[in-house]
């Protein structure tokens, strides 16, 4: 038995019609950028394995002004993706410890605090501290 296909209703460029759609699409783009950075990190490990000169050449390439400025834009998308992820946790899956579900802003605040804690742990456990 096959299900009926839902008819496609959105027109091309629908996400340019208002600010909320644009922000949504930027968030989606941030998710794709995460995969791009995944490939960059994978290449970093490959260069690390290849030796110091290959690794340093790759790192220097990432630090040339055009790539660095492009990185800032892409990084902003990754941060936007993270923030909206923390926002949606409280909206898509309301956490209910009490009679009434917690407001999404409270859940967002808890997630941001958790994020700061996890980031601190990454600094010390993975990168050896300040």
């Amino acid at each position: 038995m096959t299900g009926r296909e839902y008819a496609w209703k959105r027109r091309p460029g629908w996400w340019l019609r208002n600010r909320r759609y644009l922000m949504f699409q930027l968030r989606e783009a941030g998710g794709v950028v995460c995969a791009l950075y995944g490939l960059v990190l994978l290449n970093m490990l490959i260069q690390l394995r290849a030796g110091e000169s290959a690794y340093t050449a790759f790192l220097n390439l990432l630090r040339t002004p055009p790539v660095l400025y492009l990185n800032i834009v892409l990084f902003a998308l990754v941060v936007w993706h993270a923030l909206t992820w923390f926002m949606l946790i409280g909206k898509a899956q309301p956490i209910q410890f009490t009679r009434q579900p917690l407001p999404w802003k409270v859940v967002f605040g808890i997630n941001v605090l958790l994020w700061l804690g996890v980031s601190g742990a990454v600094v010390y456990l993975i990168f050896g501290g300040i």
Binding site: P12, C34, L48, R49, A82, V123
Partner: protein
């Protein structure tokens, strides 16, 4: 179709991983030293190769790369479908080439480099 719940689960898990771990990692590796925002250069070869000896660091990068690839490629698939790249054969192409190709082989590549020099 059978694997779809698995890909959705990996997408969701990857979302958590990238949201919590990516910003600080990217900041330390790509922005801290060039903009003089950190006392040391966490990405410098001598520093990074020292940390890379730790199994926890290797596991961290494997999880980070795998999670980001499964999350991002799944999003890309639906963005492309949104842009009009749709239909059964197009979806099958996206599933096989993008999800399977990039996410699975990329994750296996990360696993290989994570265990190489540690387990073999």
């Amino acid at each position: 179709m059978l694997l779809e719940p698995i890909f959705w689960s990996l997408f969701s898990l990857g979302g958590f991983i990238t949201a919590f771990l990516f910003p600080v990692t990217l900041f330390l590796l790509f922005f801290a030293a060039p903009f003089h925002l950190w006392p040391t250069d966490p990405a410098a070869y001598s520093t990074f190769v020292g940390h890379w000896k730790e199994p926890l660091v290797r596991l961290f990068f494997f999880v980070l790369i795998g999670g980001s690839l499964f999350h991002g490629t799944h999003r890309l698939k639906f963005m492309l479908m949104d842009a009009g790249f749709k239909g059964r054969s197009a979806e099958a192409f996206l599933d096989i080439i993008i999800l399977n190709g990039v996410a699975i082989f990329g994750s296996l590549g990360a696993l290989f480099y994570a265990v190489r020099g540690w387990l073999f």
